[in-house]
Subunit: 494 residues, 2 copies
């Protein structure tokens, strides 16, 4: 489509309307779009390319740890959910159910899954129950353990207030499911996978995160406990980036996942499950982007360099495009980056704007004068700064610039989080901060759900996590005054 | 699990019961398993690893042709199907419908998709309708064309008689959807994508295929015509490996997918769609495997070489394992193949058997005497032949053996198909062949659906395709005797 002057600056500034800004950035970068089915988005090629990169990196990290991929059914018999009391309670409100299959346009017949009582099928909101019904068949002896399986899949949780990437009725994710012979090994795996997510979020997505444990009321329905990583968005709100659940024997018992140990005794396995979803793309957008549009860290960008050949006279065109090709070939061959040359017959300014809003980390401009000087101009998407680069030094300089962008994005996000994190020692202070500028509020909490609920009710903030990093000091719960040594993070959250 | 002597030879021979053999091979190679939901299989790690390789190769082939991946919703409003008359007719019998979402365990509430009349949602059996409802928004001008988008997804078509990989209620696939400004370009794309599938099937899966066009009664519901590639399984039955549909303007019109051409005139786009599914794994199994179990062609095998270190005395163990590691490292580094060393404390014979039924193309045996002789023994999975290989010549020889296995598998399948293909000039001959040894029967057909139906009714065989390769001779339809120049392939099919 041709852009007109009118809709060029169509991104609402963050300061004016943060929610609108978020939607505008997605729209301008062509990442996703609402579909005709409420709550279900279409992930457009630009958005899906980011997801493909996320999959590639994470999948490798899992496989290096011995995890294998498999695929389990989309449909789960309703009765399976009812086997774990907390689990069914947690997902009861958000499931889609298949009860019919269409025999013809007017008549519908109820489904009768063979081998089961006639019962409705749930479209999976998560797959613990169907997967563990298989584990019960596959696991017999300690020799079958640990079992480490991951699935890349779509899941459905009905959303009343959908937002692209952040909350959609259908979303894409991976869900890892492991079974172990000891509690210790399952505990270890829970934390090991959390560390994989932290590493991925910080190293590839440049999103600083805090590792911790969810409070009882915020944990996964059916888990013994839930470990998580939490990030801060640019409006000071928290976003849960990934979770890793220690399931204990909560599912092993109802699903009879048992093994015979070295001594011939039958035991229930210990299990974990862990997941990251397309929600992470929402976090990526809200951590780095600015009023000009999307910013993608180089390590996860589907395209990290765009070259804009600039010519005013026709006889220059061939030269600058040929030079652009030289440069592209060099960068592709020597740094392995994806490079695009924008040869369209459009004004350079309009091209700059186009790639800026799409978040390409580095822009290279090359014109007739640059050819004479044996230079190019590199423009960083994150800072907008222009750097003249000699062609004799091209490859190391581009490499250095991409590395700087990656680490500077992380630093900027980290500094913002530090600035927006405050420790308080009174309930009044928490309320003031959350009502005012927001952000993370660190405070002591006694562990009582009543105190947690009170904060939630009065401020809408929740306990994001009990960070692993604790001070081991005895202080008072800022809500009820009871003595405690537990510091938690309160924040409003997506 | 420990195998006992009793269940070691648990694969039913093909000659005894071909259907049972197929299920036994899947079971023994741990590729897939029935799930508690009728018709839905679990794809186990060994099976999913093959699918991952298929995805990797095909995805690259698509991207090289400018196709981009995206993701569209699982749910499609029922009314969308009703916009294209043939399409809804074709899929009416096999759709799963979501009508409720569970508010709590006892109460269920009807779904109300916002922005739509209250209507049921279909779990996608294919995505033309939902995708083209988006194309109508995305395509405005000739500059937006061609639009080349692919989706990797799960789809649901209710199956009354499911068989793993071949017919499952839920299956995984890719579906490509393109839009073009001219009929010619859409025709070309239909054939171009069919050629991608042929290339992939023959070069990677070593499955020889025949390219052709489906008869009217066998084409995709809603297509102008359907091009396909057909393969022959070891029981002489046909299996449709992939299809590529020219949709004409059949969907463009009801979904109003229009563009303004160079002259400012509004026109409907011309479209194609094309897909390959997890069904291809069924074809892979049935083309190559034998009574010992699975055979996977090296180019698509998740693991192409397994090394079995052999020792009888404990002091030899360290030496042979260290040598096995040397060899593995060399093959991985120099040929880029996935290699596994089986160090388990089990009898070599039982290990041989284990990897044979899993279909690993090449086995390397190394024992103390081999170390002294500076040799190894390589055993081909396809022929069982044992080749002594000098370690000085290891890498080129392994490469050569893998290449031979790949091409010999193709040749074997090709020769079998040739042997099982007969041309006939009487209806009696067709009936006899199909009742006797089966296979492909080539015959002249007038194009009349009545003649086609008669054969189907009396022999259960269908027209698999009208091959692109034709003789241009005038002959008589073997059913009705009418003059025709069209030769077709009749066969019983999966």
């Amino acid at each position: 489509m041709n852009k007109t002057k009118e809709n060029i600056n169509s991104i609402t500034p963050r300061s004016k309307d943060y929610s609108k800004w978020y939607l505008d950035v997605i729209d301008a970068a062509e990442l996703a779009e609402n579909s005709p089915v409420r709550g279900c988005m279409v992930i457009k090629p630009n958005g899906y390319a980011i997801w493909e990169n996320i999959q590639k990196v994470l999948d490798n990290m899992f496989k290096l740890r011995g995890v294998k991929n498999a695929y389990f059914p989309l449909f789960i018999p309703k009765s399976f959910f009812e086997k774990e009391a907390e689990h069914v309670e947690g997902f009861a409100k958000e499931c889609a159910i298949v009860t019919h299959h269409r025999l013809n346009l007017n008549k519908e017949r109820k489904l009768v899954p063979a081998g089961l009582m006639e019962e409705p099928l749930v479209v999976r909101p998560t797959s613990e129950t169907i997967i563990y019904s298989m584990y019960a068949k596959w696991i017999h002896s300690f020799r079958d353990l640990p079992m480490l399986i991951n699935q890349w899949a779509n899941v459905v949780r009905w959303e009343l207030r959908p937002r692209p990437f952040l909350r959609t009725t259908e979303f894409l994710w991976q869900e890892g499911h492991t079974a172990h012979s000891t509690k210790e090994e399952a505990d270890e795996t829970t934390l090991q996978m959390l560390e994989v997510y932290r590493d991925f979020a910080e190293d590839y997505l440049a999103i600083p995160v805090i590792k911790g444990i969810k409070s009882e009321s915020e944990k996964f329905a059916g888990a013994a406990y839930t470990a998580c990583i939490e990030a801060m968005m640019q409006d000071g709100k928290a976003l849960q980036v990934a979770t890793s659940h220690m399931l204990g024997q909560n599912f092993a018992k109802p699903f009879k996942v048992k093994f015979t140990d070295e001594n011939g005794n039958e035991q229930y396995v210990w299990q974990t499950s862990w997941g990251m979803s397309t929600r992470i793309i929402g976090a990526l957008i809200m951590t780095h982007s600015d009023d000009k549009g999307l910013i993608i860290p180089p390590k996860i960008a589907p395209m990290s360099v765009v070259i804009i050949p600039i010519w005013s006279k026709d006889h220059d065109k061939k030269d600058v495009i040929s030079k652009a090709n030289n440069i592209a070939t060099k960068i592709i061959a020597e740094i392995g980056q994806v490079v695009h040359i924008d040869e369209r017959d459009e004004r350079p300014g309009s091209k700059f704007y186009d790639w800026e809003k799409k978040g390409i980390p580095l822009r290279i401009e090359i014109g007739p004068r640059d050819i004479i000087n044996n230079t190019i101009v590199a423009v960083r998407r994150d800072t907008g700064s222009k750097i003249e680069v000699s062609l004799t030094n091209l490859v190391p300089k581009i490499k250095e610039l991409l590395n700087s962008i990656q680490s500077d994005l992380y630093k900027r996000a980290f500094q913002y989080r530090e600035k927006m994190t405050q420790e308080v020692d009174s309930y009044k202070a928490i309320k003031n901060i959350l009502a005012d500028k927001g952000g993370f509020v660190i405070a002591y909490w006694c562990g009582d759900q009543k105190c947690e609920s009170k904060v939630k009710k009065e401020t809408t903030a929740t306990i994001r996590c009990i960070p692993f990093e604790q001070k081991q000091e005895k202080r008072k719960c800022i809500i009820c005054g009871k003595e405690t040594s537990t510091r938690v993070i309160f924040a409003k959250a997506y």
